[in-house]
Protein backbone atom coordinates (compact mmCIF):
# COMPACT_ATOMS: atom_id res chain seq x y z
CA UNK A 1 0.00 0.00 0.00
CA UNK A 2 1.39 3.39 -0.96
CA UNK A 3 2.24 5.72 1.89
CA UNK A 4 3.41 9.21 0.89
CA UNK A 5 6.81 9.90 2.44
CA UNK A 6 6.95 12.11 5.50
CA UNK A 7 8.37 15.59 4.97
CA UNK A 8 11.60 15.97 6.91
CA UNK A 9 10.99 18.20 9.89
CA UNK A 10 12.86 21.43 9.16
CA UNK A 11 10.55 23.60 11.19
CA UNK A 12 13.37 24.94 13.41
CA UNK A 13 15.67 25.75 10.47
CA UNK A 14 12.72 27.26 8.62
CA UNK A 15 11.92 29.46 11.58
CA UNK A 16 15.49 30.72 11.71
CA UNK A 17 15.50 31.30 7.99
CA UNK A 18 12.33 33.31 8.28
CA UNK A 19 13.80 35.39 11.13
CA UNK A 20 17.01 36.04 9.16
CA UNK A 21 15.13 36.90 5.98
CA UNK A 22 12.75 39.20 7.83
CA UNK A 23 15.65 40.90 9.62
CA UNK A 24 17.51 41.33 6.32
CA UNK A 25 14.43 42.79 4.69
CA UNK A 26 13.91 45.20 7.56
CA UNK A 27 17.59 46.17 7.58
CA UNK A 28 17.51 46.83 3.84
CA UNK A 29 14.27 48.77 4.26
CA UNK A 30 15.94 51.00 6.85
CA UNK A 31 19.60 51.22 5.80
CA UNK A 32 19.34 51.87 2.07
CA UNK A 33 17.00 54.84 2.33
CA UNK A 34 19.08 56.17 5.22
CA UNK A 35 22.22 56.02 3.09
CA UNK A 36 20.42 57.77 0.24
CA UNK A 37 18.97 60.50 2.34
CA UNK A 38 22.26 60.99 4.19
CA UNK A 39 23.86 61.92 0.88
CA UNK A 40 21.04 64.31 0.12
CA UNK A 41 21.35 65.76 3.56
CA UNK A 42 25.10 66.32 3.03
CA UNK A 43 24.41 68.07 -0.28
CA UNK A 44 21.82 70.25 1.43
CA UNK A 45 24.28 71.16 4.18
CA UNK A 46 26.91 72.14 1.65
CA UNK A 47 24.41 74.29 -0.17
CA UNK A 48 23.57 75.98 3.10
CA UNK A 49 27.28 76.63 3.76
CA UNK A 50 27.77 77.99 0.28
CA UNK A 51 24.79 80.27 0.72
CA UNK A 52 26.36 81.56 3.93
CA UNK A 53 29.69 82.21 2.24
CA UNK A 54 27.95 83.89 -0.68
CA UNK A 55 25.92 86.10 1.61
CA UNK A 56 28.99 87.08 3.64
CA UNK A 57 31.00 87.67 0.49
CA UNK A 58 28.26 89.80 -1.05
CA UNK A 59 27.95 91.83 2.12
CA UNK A 60 31.69 92.39 2.28
CA UNK A 61 31.91 93.24 -1.42
CA UNK A 62 28.99 95.62 -1.33
CA UNK A 63 30.36 97.31 1.78
CA UNK A 64 33.78 97.80 0.24
CA UNK A 65 32.36 98.84 -3.13
CA UNK A 66 29.91 101.14 -1.40
CA UNK A 67 32.71 102.65 0.64
CA UNK A 68 34.88 103.31 -2.42
CA UNK A 69 32.20 104.66 -4.68
CA UNK A 70 30.62 106.84 -1.98
CA UNK A 71 32.45 108.22 0.99
CA UNK A 72 35.99 107.63 -0.33
CA UNK A 73 35.30 109.35 -3.65
CA UNK A 74 33.56 112.20 -1.88
CA UNK A 75 36.46 112.70 0.46
CA UNK A 76 39.04 112.46 -2.29
CA UNK A 77 37.18 115.13 -4.18
CA UNK A 78 36.25 117.42 -1.28
CA UNK A 79 38.99 116.74 1.23
CA UNK A 80 36.54 117.82 3.90
CA UNK A 81 36.82 116.45 7.37
CA UNK A 82 33.21 115.35 7.43
CA UNK A 83 33.71 113.34 4.28
CA UNK A 84 36.86 111.92 5.85
CA UNK A 85 34.87 110.79 8.89
CA UNK A 86 32.24 109.24 6.68
CA UNK A 87 34.93 107.48 4.73
CA UNK A 88 36.40 106.14 7.97
CA UNK A 89 32.98 104.90 9.00
CA UNK A 90 32.50 103.24 5.63
CA UNK A 91 35.86 101.53 5.82
CA UNK A 92 35.10 100.41 9.36
CA UNK A 93 31.82 99.01 8.15
CA UNK A 94 33.68 97.25 5.39
CA UNK A 95 35.99 95.77 7.96
CA UNK A 96 32.98 94.61 9.95
CA UNK A 97 31.66 93.01 6.80
CA UNK A 98 34.95 91.22 6.38
CA UNK A 99 34.63 89.95 9.96
CA UNK A 100 31.29 88.38 8.89
CA UNK A 101 33.13 86.64 6.14
CA UNK A 102 35.70 85.46 8.65
CA UNK A 103 32.88 84.04 10.72
CA UNK A 104 31.72 82.13 7.68
CA UNK A 105 35.21 80.75 7.22
CA UNK A 106 34.35 77.30 8.57
CA UNK A 107 31.47 77.07 6.14
CA UNK A 108 33.91 78.10 3.39
CA UNK A 109 36.27 75.34 4.49
CA UNK A 110 33.46 72.79 4.35
CA UNK A 111 32.60 73.68 0.78
CA UNK A 112 36.26 73.89 -0.29
CA UNK A 113 36.45 77.66 -0.70
CA UNK A 114 38.87 78.27 2.15
CA UNK A 115 41.75 79.33 -0.10
CA UNK A 116 39.62 81.67 -2.14
CA UNK A 117 38.12 83.28 0.94
CA UNK A 118 41.57 83.54 2.51
CA UNK A 119 42.90 85.31 -0.55
CA UNK A 120 39.88 87.61 -0.75
CA UNK A 121 40.14 88.51 2.93
CA UNK A 122 43.84 89.19 2.70
CA UNK A 123 43.50 91.32 -0.38
CA UNK A 124 40.45 93.12 1.02
CA UNK A 125 42.21 93.98 4.27
CA UNK A 126 45.26 95.14 2.33
CA UNK A 127 43.06 97.26 0.11
CA UNK A 128 41.34 98.86 3.07
CA UNK A 129 44.72 99.55 4.67
CA UNK A 130 46.03 101.22 1.51
CA UNK A 131 42.77 103.11 1.26
CA UNK A 132 43.26 104.45 4.78
CA UNK A 133 46.88 105.40 4.09
CA UNK A 134 45.85 107.19 0.93
CA UNK A 135 42.99 108.89 2.77
CA UNK A 136 45.39 110.12 5.46
CA UNK A 137 47.69 111.50 2.78
CA UNK A 138 44.80 113.30 1.15
CA UNK A 139 43.75 114.60 4.53
CA UNK A 140 47.22 116.16 4.83
CA UNK A 141 46.66 117.84 1.53
CA UNK A 142 48.23 115.38 -0.92
CA UNK A 143 46.82 114.74 -4.36
CA UNK A 144 45.08 111.35 -4.23
CA UNK A 145 46.66 110.32 -7.56
CA UNK A 146 50.06 111.26 -6.23
CA UNK A 147 49.67 109.82 -2.72
CA UNK A 148 52.86 108.13 -1.45
CA UNK A 149 51.19 104.67 -1.58
CA UNK A 150 49.50 105.18 -4.93
CA UNK A 151 51.24 102.19 -6.42
CA UNK A 152 50.49 99.97 -3.47
CA UNK A 153 46.94 101.27 -3.36
CA UNK A 154 46.14 100.47 -6.96
CA UNK A 155 47.89 97.11 -6.70
CA UNK A 156 45.87 96.29 -3.60
CA UNK A 157 42.72 97.44 -5.34
CA UNK A 158 43.41 95.26 -8.37
CA UNK A 159 44.20 92.32 -6.16
CA UNK A 160 41.00 92.84 -4.17
CA UNK A 161 38.87 93.05 -7.31
CA UNK A 162 40.60 90.05 -8.81
CA UNK A 163 40.11 87.96 -5.68
CA UNK A 164 36.52 89.16 -5.37
CA UNK A 165 35.71 88.16 -8.95
CA UNK A 166 37.48 84.84 -8.53
CA UNK A 167 35.66 84.12 -5.28
CA UNK A 168 32.30 84.96 -6.84
CA UNK A 169 33.08 82.84 -9.87
CA UNK A 170 34.01 79.94 -7.62
CA UNK A 171 30.85 80.41 -5.62
CA UNK A 172 28.72 80.29 -8.79
CA UNK A 173 30.62 77.29 -10.07
CA UNK A 174 30.30 75.49 -6.78
CA UNK A 175 26.64 76.42 -6.57
CA UNK A 176 26.06 74.71 -9.91
CA UNK A 177 27.95 71.64 -8.79
CA UNK A 178 26.00 71.44 -5.57
CA UNK A 179 22.71 71.75 -7.45
CA UNK A 180 23.69 68.81 -9.58
CA UNK A 181 24.86 66.89 -6.55
CA UNK A 182 21.57 67.57 -4.76
CA UNK A 183 19.62 66.38 -7.77
CA UNK A 184 21.76 63.27 -7.97
CA UNK A 185 21.48 62.67 -4.24
CA UNK A 186 17.68 63.05 -4.38
CA UNK A 187 17.45 60.64 -7.25
CA UNK A 188 19.74 58.16 -5.49
CA UNK A 189 17.78 58.46 -2.25
CA UNK A 190 14.50 57.67 -4.00
CA UNK A 191 16.05 54.83 -5.97
CA UNK A 192 17.48 53.34 -2.80
CA UNK A 193 14.15 53.75 -1.03
CA UNK A 194 12.26 52.03 -3.84
CA UNK A 195 14.95 49.38 -4.06
CA UNK A 196 14.70 48.70 -0.36
CA UNK A 197 10.92 48.47 -0.58
CA UNK A 198 11.19 46.04 -3.50
CA UNK A 199 13.82 43.96 -1.70
CA UNK A 200 11.76 43.88 1.49
CA UNK A 201 8.56 43.05 -0.37
CA UNK A 202 10.47 40.53 -2.44
CA UNK A 203 11.77 38.83 0.70
CA UNK A 204 8.31 38.61 2.17
CA UNK A 205 6.78 37.44 -1.09
CA UNK A 206 9.49 34.78 -1.37
CA UNK A 207 8.83 33.62 2.15
CA UNK A 208 5.07 33.66 1.55
CA UNK A 209 5.40 31.75 -1.72
CA UNK A 210 7.76 29.23 -0.16
CA UNK A 211 5.45 28.71 2.79
CA UNK A 212 2.42 28.48 0.51
CA UNK A 213 4.18 25.89 -1.66
CA UNK A 214 5.22 23.95 1.41
CA UNK A 215 1.72 24.13 2.86
CA UNK A 216 0.27 23.05 -0.47
CA UNK A 217 2.70 20.14 -0.58
CA UNK A 218 1.79 19.15 2.95
CA UNK A 219 -1.90 19.43 2.11
CA UNK A 220 -1.37 17.25 -0.92
CA UNK A 221 0.47 14.68 1.18
CA UNK A 222 -2.27 14.84 3.81
CA UNK A 223 -5.00 14.53 1.14
CA UNK A 224 -3.18 11.60 -0.41
CA UNK A 225 -2.88 9.93 2.97
CA UNK A 226 -6.57 10.54 3.64
CA UNK A 227 -7.45 9.09 0.23
CA UNK A 228 -5.20 6.08 0.86
CA UNK A 229 -6.70 5.60 4.32
CA UNK A 230 -10.24 5.85 2.93
CA UNK A 231 -9.45 3.40 0.16
CA UNK A 232 -7.90 1.08 2.72
CA UNK A 233 -10.96 1.37 4.96
CA UNK A 234 -13.19 0.70 1.96
CA UNK A 235 -11.15 -2.37 1.04
CA UNK A 236 -11.29 -3.56 4.63
CA UNK A 237 -15.05 -3.09 4.71
CA UNK A 238 -15.40 -5.05 1.47
CA UNK A 239 -13.18 -7.79 2.84
CA UNK A 240 -15.22 -7.84 6.02
CA UNK A 241 -18.42 -8.26 4.03
CA UNK A 242 -16.92 -11.07 2.03
CA UNK A 243 -15.50 -12.74 5.14
CA UNK A 244 -18.87 -12.42 6.83
CA UNK A 245 -20.55 -14.31 4.03
CA UNK A 246 -17.77 -16.89 3.64
CA UNK A 247 -17.57 -17.64 7.37
CA UNK A 248 -21.27 -17.67 8.11
CA UNK A 249 -22.23 -20.18 5.44
CA UNK A 250 -20.07 -23.01 6.86
CA UNK A 251 -21.24 -22.06 10.34
CA UNK A 252 -24.84 -22.27 9.11
CA UNK A 253 -24.13 -25.79 7.81
CA UNK A 254 -22.59 -26.81 11.15
CA UNK A 255 -25.46 -25.28 13.07
CA UNK A 256 -28.17 -26.93 10.96
CA UNK A 257 -26.37 -30.26 10.96
CA UNK A 258 -26.07 -30.13 14.75
CA UNK A 259 -29.80 -29.29 15.02
CA UNK A 260 -30.62 -32.21 12.77
CA UNK A 261 -28.48 -34.48 14.94
CA UNK A 262 -30.15 -33.11 18.05
CA UNK A 263 -33.54 -34.09 16.67
CA UNK A 264 -32.35 -37.51 15.57
CA UNK A 265 -30.54 -38.21 18.87
CA UNK A 266 -33.52 -37.09 20.94
CA UNK A 267 -36.00 -39.24 19.01
CA UNK A 268 -33.52 -42.16 19.01
CA UNK A 269 -33.08 -41.94 22.81
CA UNK A 270 -29.26 -41.69 22.63
CA UNK A 271 -28.20 -39.25 25.38
CA UNK A 272 -24.53 -39.35 24.42
CA UNK A 273 -25.30 -38.47 20.81
CA UNK A 274 -27.74 -35.87 21.99
CA UNK A 275 -25.07 -34.28 24.23
CA UNK A 276 -22.58 -34.32 21.37
CA UNK A 277 -25.14 -32.69 19.08
CA UNK A 278 -25.92 -30.09 21.75
CA UNK A 279 -22.22 -29.32 22.16
CA UNK A 280 -21.76 -29.03 18.40
CA UNK A 281 -24.74 -26.71 18.13
CA UNK A 282 -23.52 -24.55 21.02
CA UNK A 283 -20.03 -24.42 19.51
CA UNK A 284 -21.46 -23.33 16.17
CA UNK A 285 -23.51 -20.63 17.90
CA UNK A 286 -20.48 -19.50 19.82
CA UNK A 287 -18.32 -19.38 16.68
CA UNK A 288 -21.00 -17.35 14.99
CA UNK A 289 -21.07 -14.97 17.97
CA UNK A 290 -17.29 -14.50 17.77
CA UNK A 291 -17.50 -13.88 14.03
CA UNK A 292 -20.21 -11.30 14.70
CA UNK A 293 -17.96 -9.55 17.24
CA UNK A 294 -14.99 -9.45 14.90
CA UNK A 295 -17.13 -8.17 12.07
CA UNK A 296 -18.66 -5.49 14.30
CA UNK A 297 -15.19 -4.39 15.35
CA UNK A 298 -14.18 -4.05 11.70
CA UNK A 299 -17.34 -2.12 10.91
CA UNK A 300 -16.63 0.14 13.87
CA UNK A 301 -13.17 0.89 12.47
CA UNK A 302 -14.59 1.58 9.04
CA UNK A 303 -17.33 3.74 10.58
CA UNK A 304 -19.93 1.49 8.98
CA UNK A 305 -21.57 0.04 12.05
CA UNK A 306 -25.36 0.23 11.78
CA UNK A 307 -27.59 -0.58 14.72
CA UNK A 308 -31.31 -1.34 14.52
CA UNK A 309 -32.67 -0.15 17.86
CA UNK A 310 -36.13 -1.05 19.10
CA UNK A 311 -37.73 -2.38 22.31
CA UNK A 312 -36.08 -5.68 23.25
CA UNK A 313 -37.16 -7.93 26.15
CA UNK A 314 -34.15 -8.09 28.43
CA UNK A 315 -34.97 -11.47 29.99
CA UNK A 316 -34.86 -13.32 26.63
CA UNK A 317 -31.50 -11.92 25.59
CA UNK A 318 -30.04 -12.34 29.09
CA UNK A 319 -31.29 -15.91 29.26
CA UNK A 320 -29.66 -16.77 25.92
CA UNK A 321 -26.37 -15.18 26.97
CA UNK A 322 -26.31 -17.22 30.17
CA UNK A 323 -27.31 -20.38 28.30
CA UNK A 324 -24.55 -19.98 25.70
CA UNK A 325 -21.94 -19.34 28.38
CA UNK A 326 -23.04 -22.33 30.45
CA UNK A 327 -22.86 -24.53 27.36
CA UNK A 328 -19.36 -23.31 26.62
CA UNK A 329 -17.82 -22.93 30.06
CA UNK A 330 -19.83 -25.33 32.18
CA UNK A 331 -22.54 -25.15 34.79
CA UNK A 332 -22.27 -22.94 37.84
CA UNK A 333 -24.72 -21.01 40.02
CA UNK A 334 -26.09 -17.95 38.23
CA UNK A 335 -28.47 -15.83 40.30
CA UNK A 336 -30.63 -13.50 38.21
CA UNK A 337 -32.64 -11.01 40.24
CA UNK A 338 -34.49 -7.74 39.86
CA UNK A 339 -36.60 -6.21 37.10
CA UNK A 340 -35.62 -8.63 34.34
CA UNK A 341 -39.04 -8.54 32.68
CA UNK A 342 -38.38 -5.12 31.28
CA UNK A 343 -37.64 -3.99 27.80
CA UNK A 344 -34.66 -1.91 26.80
CA UNK A 345 -34.10 0.15 23.69
CA UNK A 346 -31.37 -1.84 21.97
CA UNK A 347 -30.20 -3.70 18.91
CA UNK A 348 -31.02 -7.26 19.96
CA UNK A 349 -27.99 -8.92 18.36
CA UNK A 350 -25.59 -6.37 19.85
CA UNK A 351 -27.25 -6.50 23.25
CA UNK A 352 -26.63 -10.23 23.12
CA UNK A 353 -22.95 -9.60 22.41
CA UNK A 354 -22.63 -7.26 25.41
CA UNK A 355 -24.42 -9.54 27.85
CA UNK A 356 -22.60 -12.62 26.62
CA UNK A 357 -19.25 -10.85 27.08
CA UNK A 358 -20.16 -9.79 30.62
CA UNK A 359 -21.36 -13.24 31.65
CA UNK A 360 -18.43 -14.92 29.88
CA UNK A 361 -15.93 -12.71 31.71
CA UNK A 362 -17.65 -13.34 35.06
CA UNK A 363 -17.32 -17.10 34.46
CA UNK A 364 -13.74 -16.93 33.16
CA UNK A 365 -12.25 -14.63 35.78
CA UNK A 366 -13.70 -16.23 38.91
CA UNK A 367 -13.10 -19.60 40.63
CA UNK A 368 -14.92 -22.53 38.98
CA UNK A 369 -18.24 -23.20 40.63
CA UNK A 370 -18.42 -19.76 42.29
CA UNK A 371 -21.67 -17.89 41.92
CA UNK A 372 -22.27 -15.19 39.32
CA UNK A 373 -24.95 -12.69 40.34
CA UNK A 374 -26.92 -10.69 37.77
CA UNK A 375 -29.15 -7.93 39.08
CA UNK A 376 -31.42 -5.63 37.09
CA UNK A 377 -32.67 -2.33 38.49
CA UNK A 378 -34.84 0.45 37.05
CA UNK A 379 -33.75 4.05 37.48
CA UNK A 380 -35.91 6.79 35.91
CA UNK A 381 -35.59 6.24 32.19
CA UNK A 382 -32.75 3.74 32.30
CA UNK A 383 -32.22 0.14 33.17
CA UNK A 384 -29.08 -1.00 34.98
CA UNK A 385 -27.72 -4.53 34.68
CA UNK A 386 -24.99 -5.46 37.16
CA UNK A 387 -22.98 -8.64 36.63
CA UNK A 388 -20.94 -9.54 39.69
CA UNK A 389 -18.45 -12.39 40.19
CA UNK A 390 -16.33 -13.66 43.06
CA UNK A 391 -12.97 -13.44 41.33
CA UNK A 392 -9.93 -11.29 42.22
CA UNK A 393 -11.55 -8.10 40.91
CA UNK A 394 -10.00 -5.35 38.76
CA UNK A 395 -7.51 -2.94 40.40
CA UNK A 396 -8.74 0.68 40.41
CA UNK A 397 -5.82 1.70 38.21
CA UNK A 398 -6.93 -0.78 35.52
CA UNK A 399 -10.66 -0.07 35.52
CA UNK A 400 -10.48 2.06 32.39
CA UNK A 401 -7.63 0.15 30.79
CA UNK A 402 -9.74 -3.01 30.53
CA UNK A 403 -11.89 -1.24 27.94
CA UNK A 404 -8.96 -0.63 25.61
CA UNK A 405 -8.70 -2.82 22.56
CA UNK A 406 -6.51 -5.93 22.87
CA UNK A 407 -5.76 -4.97 26.47
CA UNK A 408 -5.26 -8.00 28.73
CA UNK A 409 -4.38 -7.43 32.37
CA UNK A 410 -1.23 -9.29 33.38
CA UNK A 411 -3.13 -11.25 36.03
CA UNK A 412 -5.43 -12.73 33.38
CA UNK A 413 -3.04 -13.50 30.56
CA UNK A 414 -3.54 -17.21 31.14
CA UNK A 415 -7.28 -16.96 30.46
CA UNK A 416 -8.46 -17.43 26.87
CA UNK A 417 -9.57 -14.46 24.81
CA UNK A 418 -8.11 -11.79 22.56
CA UNK A 419 -9.14 -8.66 24.44
CA UNK A 420 -11.81 -7.12 22.22
CA UNK A 421 -14.96 -8.06 24.15
CA UNK A 422 -15.11 -5.20 26.64
CA UNK A 423 -13.90 -2.63 24.12
CA UNK A 424 -16.58 -3.63 21.63
CA UNK A 425 -19.24 -3.98 24.34
CA UNK A 426 -18.64 -0.46 25.61
CA UNK A 427 -18.76 0.98 22.08
CA UNK A 428 -22.00 -0.85 21.37
CA UNK A 429 -23.53 0.25 24.69
CA UNK A 430 -22.66 3.87 23.96
CA UNK A 431 -24.11 3.69 20.48
CA UNK A 432 -27.34 2.45 21.99
CA UNK A 433 -27.43 5.48 24.28
CA UNK A 434 -26.05 3.66 27.29
CA UNK A 435 -22.77 3.07 29.09
CA UNK A 436 -20.64 0.20 30.34
CA UNK A 437 -18.29 0.59 33.30
CA UNK A 438 -16.60 -1.18 36.17
CA UNK A 439 -18.65 -0.49 39.29
CA UNK A 440 -16.96 -0.14 42.69
CA UNK A 441 -16.92 -3.44 44.51
CA UNK A 442 -15.56 -4.68 47.81
CA UNK A 443 -14.85 -8.09 46.37
CA UNK A 444 -14.77 -9.58 42.88
CA UNK A 445 -15.64 -7.63 39.74
CA UNK A 446 -18.92 -5.83 39.19
CA UNK A 447 -19.67 -4.72 35.63
CA UNK A 448 -22.44 -2.14 35.21
CA UNK A 449 -24.41 -1.84 31.98
CA UNK A 450 -26.86 1.03 31.68
CA UNK A 451 -29.33 1.23 28.78
CA UNK A 452 -32.38 3.35 27.95
CA UNK A 453 -35.56 1.73 29.15
CA UNK A 454 -38.27 1.04 26.58
CA UNK A 455 -41.62 2.53 27.44
CA UNK A 456 -43.39 -0.71 26.58
CA UNK A 457 -42.58 -4.35 26.06
CA UNK A 458 -42.36 -5.37 22.38
CA UNK A 459 -45.42 -7.11 20.91
CA UNK A 460 -45.21 -10.90 20.93
CA UNK A 461 -44.17 -12.34 17.56
Amino acid sequence: MYHPPDEPDHSSARRWLFVVAASLALAVLVVLPWVGFQRLSAANRQTHDLTLVLAATNYASSSITGAISGPVRSFELSGRETDYQQMIEATEMSEDALYWLEDAYQAAERVGLADEVDAYLESSYEFLLQLEIRANAVRKGADPEKAPNAGAYFAARRAHLRDQDYLNARIVELGGELDEERTRAMRTAWVLLLASVFVAVGCFVLIAVTETKRNRRQMLVAETRVAVAERSAQQRAEMVNLASHELRNPLAVMSLAAQMLQGTAASGGDPLLEQAANDAYAAARRAEALVAELLDLSRLDANKLKLVIHPVPLDLVLGEAVSLTVHHLGERPVAVTGATETAVMADPGRLGIILRNLVDNAFKYSPPGSEVAINVTRANSTLEVQVRDQGPGIPIADRERVFERFERLSATQHVGGIGIGLHLSRELARRMGGELSVAPSNSGTCMRLVLPQASRLPEAA
Binding site: R248, N249, P250, L251, A252, L256, Q259, M260, R285, E288
Partner: protein, 124 residues
Amino acid sequence: MPPKSILILEDEFALRRLMKLMLQREGFEVLDAANGQEALDLIALHGLPNLALVDLMMPVMNGEEFIHAVKANGWDLPAIFVSASPEAQEVCAQLGLTCVKKPYDFSVLLTAIRAELEAGSVIA
Protein backbone atom coordinates in the same frame (compact mmCIF):
# COMPACT_ATOMS: atom_id res chain seq x y z
CA MET B 1 -54.31 -31.75 0.78
CA PRO B 2 -51.17 -31.64 -1.32
CA PRO B 3 -48.03 -30.69 0.58
CA LYS B 4 -46.81 -27.12 0.32
CA SER B 5 -43.85 -26.63 -1.99
CA ILE B 6 -40.79 -24.63 -1.16
CA LEU B 7 -38.08 -23.47 -3.55
CA ILE B 8 -34.64 -23.07 -1.94
CA LEU B 9 -32.21 -20.64 -3.59
CA GLU B 10 -28.77 -21.25 -1.99
CA ASP B 11 -25.33 -21.47 -3.59
CA GLU B 12 -23.72 -23.32 -0.60
CA PHE B 13 -24.28 -26.95 -1.60
CA ALA B 14 -24.07 -28.54 1.88
CA LEU B 15 -26.44 -26.00 3.31
CA ARG B 16 -28.86 -26.42 0.44
CA ARG B 17 -28.87 -30.20 0.92
CA LEU B 18 -29.38 -29.95 4.71
CA MET B 19 -32.19 -27.42 4.35
CA LYS B 20 -33.86 -29.66 1.77
CA LEU B 21 -33.60 -32.73 4.06
CA MET B 22 -34.92 -30.93 7.11
CA LEU B 23 -37.79 -29.29 5.25
CA GLN B 24 -38.73 -32.59 3.63
CA ARG B 25 -38.81 -34.10 7.13
CA GLU B 26 -41.33 -31.44 8.03
CA GLY B 27 -43.51 -32.56 5.16
CA PHE B 28 -42.72 -29.98 2.52
CA GLU B 29 -42.04 -30.65 -1.11
CA VAL B 30 -38.71 -29.07 -1.83
CA LEU B 31 -36.98 -27.89 -5.00
CA ASP B 32 -33.52 -26.34 -4.84
CA ALA B 33 -31.46 -24.06 -7.04
CA ALA B 34 -27.89 -22.79 -6.79
CA ASN B 35 -28.73 -19.32 -8.09
CA GLY B 36 -31.56 -17.10 -9.23
CA GLN B 37 -31.38 -18.17 -12.86
CA GLU B 38 -31.67 -21.86 -12.01
CA ALA B 39 -34.62 -20.99 -9.83
CA LEU B 40 -36.35 -19.20 -12.72
CA ASP B 41 -35.69 -22.25 -14.90
CA LEU B 42 -37.23 -24.54 -12.27
CA ILE B 43 -40.28 -22.29 -12.02
CA ALA B 44 -40.65 -22.39 -15.77
CA LEU B 45 -40.48 -26.20 -15.62
CA HIS B 46 -42.52 -27.00 -12.51
CA GLY B 47 -44.59 -23.91 -11.93
CA LEU B 48 -44.59 -21.51 -9.02
CA PRO B 49 -43.90 -22.99 -5.56
CA ASN B 50 -45.82 -21.90 -2.44
CA LEU B 51 -42.77 -20.14 -0.99
CA ALA B 52 -39.19 -19.23 -1.90
CA LEU B 53 -36.31 -19.25 0.59
CA VAL B 54 -33.85 -16.84 -1.02
CA ASP B 55 -30.17 -16.36 -0.24
CA LEU B 56 -28.92 -12.86 -1.12
CA MET B 57 -25.40 -13.48 -2.36
CA MET B 58 -25.33 -15.99 -5.19
CA PRO B 59 -23.42 -16.14 -8.47
CA VAL B 60 -25.04 -15.67 -11.92
CA MET B 61 -28.22 -14.11 -10.47
CA ASN B 62 -28.32 -13.02 -6.82
CA GLY B 63 -31.34 -12.99 -4.55
CA GLU B 64 -32.31 -9.39 -5.10
CA GLU B 65 -32.18 -9.82 -8.88
CA PHE B 66 -34.33 -12.94 -8.59
CA ILE B 67 -36.97 -11.01 -6.64
CA HIS B 68 -37.00 -8.27 -9.27
CA ALA B 69 -37.39 -10.91 -11.98
CA VAL B 70 -40.36 -12.37 -10.11
CA LYS B 71 -41.92 -8.92 -9.90
CA ALA B 72 -41.26 -8.27 -13.55
CA ASN B 73 -43.09 -11.49 -14.42
CA GLY B 74 -45.96 -10.51 -12.18
CA TRP B 75 -45.78 -13.74 -10.20
CA ASP B 76 -47.56 -14.27 -6.90
CA LEU B 77 -44.74 -15.80 -4.84
CA PRO B 78 -44.22 -15.41 -1.04
CA ALA B 79 -40.54 -15.22 -0.14
CA ILE B 80 -38.22 -15.18 2.85
CA PHE B 81 -34.66 -13.95 2.65
CA VAL B 82 -32.20 -16.29 4.40
CA SER B 83 -28.82 -14.65 4.35
CA ALA B 84 -25.48 -14.19 6.10
CA SER B 85 -24.90 -10.93 4.28
CA PRO B 86 -24.94 -7.71 6.35
CA GLU B 87 -26.86 -5.99 3.55
CA ALA B 88 -29.69 -8.51 3.71
CA GLN B 89 -31.59 -6.59 6.39
CA GLU B 90 -31.56 -3.44 4.29
CA VAL B 91 -32.60 -5.29 1.14
CA CYS B 92 -35.41 -7.03 3.05
CA ALA B 93 -36.62 -3.74 4.42
CA GLN B 94 -36.61 -2.19 0.94
CA LEU B 95 -38.48 -5.14 -0.59
CA GLY B 96 -40.82 -5.59 2.36
CA LEU B 97 -39.81 -9.20 2.95
CA THR B 98 -39.10 -11.25 6.07
CA CYS B 99 -35.41 -11.84 6.77
CA VAL B 100 -33.86 -14.73 8.72
CA LYS B 101 -30.18 -14.28 9.48
CA LYS B 102 -27.76 -17.14 8.99
CA PRO B 103 -26.81 -19.17 10.93
CA TYR B 104 -30.28 -19.71 12.32
CA ASP B 105 -32.28 -21.92 14.56
CA PHE B 106 -34.16 -24.25 12.28
CA SER B 107 -37.19 -23.80 14.47
CA VAL B 108 -36.98 -20.04 13.89
CA LEU B 109 -36.88 -20.62 10.14
CA LEU B 110 -39.78 -23.07 10.33
CA THR B 111 -41.86 -20.56 12.27
CA ALA B 112 -41.14 -17.88 9.67
CA ILE B 113 -42.04 -20.30 6.83
CA ARG B 114 -45.36 -21.26 8.40
CA ALA B 115 -46.17 -17.62 9.11
CA GLU B 116 -45.47 -16.62 5.51
CA LEU B 117 -47.49 -19.47 4.11
CA GLU B 118 -50.42 -18.51 6.27
CA ALA B 119 -50.17 -14.81 5.62
CA GLY B 120 -49.26 -15.31 1.97
CA SER B 121 -46.84 -12.33 1.97
CA VAL B 122 -46.37 -11.59 -1.64
CA ILE B 123 -43.70 -9.85 -3.63
CA ALA B 124 -45.77 -6.82 -4.62
